[in-house]
Symmetry: C2
Subunit: 467 residues, 2 copies
């Protein structure tokens, strides 16, 4: 089997294919599970400072060449007008039908060179667009690190770190050897890390201001040591964040990392894409998990308006992939909106308690990261009607509750208490979940981002624009 | 600071030193946290088959030379009379005061060559005995793999796997290309794994029969692939066990991996040992965690009778380190006995519930492995009297409860309900635990091993001899 199309032809429908994939848990690889302990690692991004090692869990795609800008403006929905080398963007491509393919952070390193960082679907889609078009671009794809390296060495093109938290600015000044430039949100400048001059993006994944820095992978240990030593010298309680806590930071800041790429249906370019995509791709091997089972995989797709990305759209661009579809979707009453679901404590404890009883328990809620698929889809009900979909889960020690991110119908209001069906209705072949029965968990609809700090102090951007 | 003595001189007493060590969680390194999910990985050692990758978490010490046997018989308490090359033993050294230093599994590979596998304290103590004696032995020490390799390559001298579970025998026959020899418990023979001829120990850590095999590390991937392919061909639901589930298998089988080495006090040889041991040793950096805080570190020590190792003792040997002390300890009414503590479900849920409330929660019970120190010591109370010490914790999905292993006074009976103090009374510098308050958890005293299968079908050995 060479292509995604070949794999799909072996299954009654793509939902069944992905619900029964045996790929396993979507792993945050290489980085140690815990450095101190995941509770303190979560607490530190709110209270002191954290170092996120993001060197391993994301694909990196370098797009270079005289047509690089025009090509990427064609692939992504984003406006490119103000995109100079001191900026980054949240790059979002959609299909010709307007469904989100995925997203990556895109950096402009030179006029003719861009670096994209994120999950595989956007990298794959971008490579495909280069393959079928006539763009003068050179692409280099560095896929994420292996999920279970088992003692083998892992190398990447770049190291990538984030320093976050209220004490982070003191560390920046120390490693830079003096005050750092005032960089607006999602802008890039250069700072010193000891003897190295590195690019730094003003970012803030965990709801507190921070910087993302990157450079040649060979510098990784030097950079890490310099940052940690600076924190020690300043007596800052910095925590390196391990893979168990890492993915939960988004629950507080409100980005959904895992929309299902809207590429399994559709004719024309989409059919061609499925023939082009390898049988070993993320798209052919990823998993859908959760209580929502539809015969129609389109029901799992989301559009950019639903994720709060509508204001990115470069309407002034002559054309880009999906523009016509988005024009129709814009303002549609069927568009859902992004929210945070706050899980009811008693219901969560009921689920946990079943792990202490004989018989088939409820689906285990693993702490701090209960996700058991690369894309989660749990039904959120109002009485007997499905009014939303929960898409990414996690326990926050800071908020002392389990949260999830997802989308709800326009009719749903912040403060509404809905019911989420937790666990799968059928037994699947997935290896990431034990045999279980379904539970009902009440969820309170809350704004996104959930974190008060993020909500109030964020420098503009998509996190503010929803619900 | 060069030695353990130097490090100890910086602290008011060794208990405070170890309770405040910042070494972090005692990690099961390199092996992926989960391959499928830890619930199914636990279930599989009871229901089908598992592959434990034990290549990384243990020190290995090779002892060779004309005096190898005499030397080891001097260092360990074990009888060596019947120790030929087709046997393994559970090697236990004690101090001159009769306190357990640690334990390793010892294999006799040749008449003059032994391999010891286990935690560092026994390897260190054995090296010291060689250093201070006049034995014609050559030692090679291969310490455990780094806790957080961070993408760097890890190499060991040997790979080491166990295949366990009710379906394991079918796999043995398949990889061997025919029926395997009948090997008695803790005896060694040779079997084929595909094209390789390997040593195999009849073992059974998880309460079900199994084999442990080892060989040159370069063969690791071949061996693993051959085993997994055999299981696939046989349609056996084999699970590779990840580092999160791995350490919990001992809760069902009853071995305590983590007694505190009894080496921090005592004169003569023990004082000399502390000067000899490095400041970077396990002993200088390990952690004590738990509710039991004594000024006197001797209160954390155990003797071999308490762990059920009394029947190993080679009384007929002319002498061995600690013999005189053990002679006095034998049959003493102050010797405690090893038991399993079954934690009360409601009390466990109360602790978990506090993670959903504001304020300082109870000490988090992390699933499936709540240990937060290299040696755990939680007080077990009968009314106001401490009658036992809980020493190693874990949740068993098979038994649907949290269990711990420890020792209790002779007066305690199976079935007694005692109260464990969970969490530390004081704030320590340990990095592995968040700020917390103490909880009381009722525990029911249960036999060791707890697992019915292990209790009834074990082929003799220390697991049967306690409580």
């Amino acid at each position: 089997m060479a292509s995604l199309s070949d794999v799909m032809s072996q299954h009654p429908n793509p939902v069944q294919m992905l619900r029964n994939s045996r790929m396993g848990i979507y792993v945050y690889p290489v980085v140690a599970p815990e450095f101190t302990n995941w509770r303190d690692e979560q607490r530190a991004w709110r209270d002191s400072a954290v170092l996120f090692d993001q060197s391993h869990h994301m694909d990196e795609l370098i797009v270079e060449g005289p047509d690089a800008e025009a090509f990427l403006a064609h692939v992504g929905i984003n406006g490119f007008a103000n995109f100079d080398t001191n900026r980054a963007k949240h790059f979002v491509p959609v299909t010709p039908n307007g469904h989100v393919v995925g997203d990556m952070i895109i950096f402009r390193e030179r006029d003719d060179k861009f670096i994209l960082v994120g999950r595989a679907p956007t990298a794959n889609w971008t490579k495909f667009q280069a393959a079928i078009g006539k763009w003068k671009v050179r692409l280099h794809h560095d896929p994420r690190s292996p999920s279970r390296p088992d003692g083998e060495r892992v190398l990447r093109t770049h190291y990538r770190y984030q320093i976050q938290g209220p004490d982070a600015p003191k560390i920046f000044e120390k490693i830079n050897g003096g005050p750092i430039p005032e960089v607006p949100f999602f802008h890039v400048d250069r700072i010193n890390v000891g003897s190295r001059r590195v690019q730094a993006l003003r970012h803030g994944m965990a709801g507190a201001p921070g910087l993302e820095i990157w450079g040649p992978y060979a510098d990784k240990h030097y950079i890490e040591s310099t940052i940690l030593q600076a924190a020690r010298d300043l007596k800052i309680d910095i925590h390196q964040v391990g893979s168990r806590a890492y993915s939960t930071n988004t629950l507080e800041s409100g980005w959904i990392p895992s929309p299902l790429p809207g590429i399994y249906t559709g004719d024309g370019m989409l059919a061609e894409y499925r023939d082009w995509l390898g049988a070993d791709s993320y798209e052919a091997n990823g998993t859908i998990g959760g209580s929502f089972v539809s015969e129609n995989i389109d029901d799992y797709y989301v559009n950019p308006f639903e994720l709060g990305y509508g204001f990115y759209i470069g309407w002034k661009k002559d054309d880009f992939v999906g523009k016509a579809a988005l024009e129709k979707m814009k303002g549609a009453s069927s568009n859902r909106k992004k929210v945070t679901f706050e899980w009811n404590k008693e219901d969560v404890l009921k689920v946990i308690a079943s792990g202490f009883e004989d018989g088939t328990p409820y689906k285990w809620i693993d702490f701090p990261q209960p996700n058991y698929a690369s894309s989660s889809a749990d039904m959120v009900m109002q009485d007997d009607k499905m009014v939303g979909m929960s898409m990414f889960n996690g326990y926050s020690y800071n908020e002392r509750c389990v949260l999830s991110l997802g989308v709800v119908d326009q009719s749903v209001e912040v403060g509404d208490v809905l019911t989420m069906r937790w666990g799968e209705p059928e037994e699947t072949q997935k290896t990431s979940g034990e045999k279980h029965k379904q539970a009902e968990i009440r969820v309170r609809v809350s704004p996104t981002p959930y974190s008060r700090e993020a909500r109030e102090n964020y420098g503009g951007g998509w996190r503010k624009t929803t619900a």
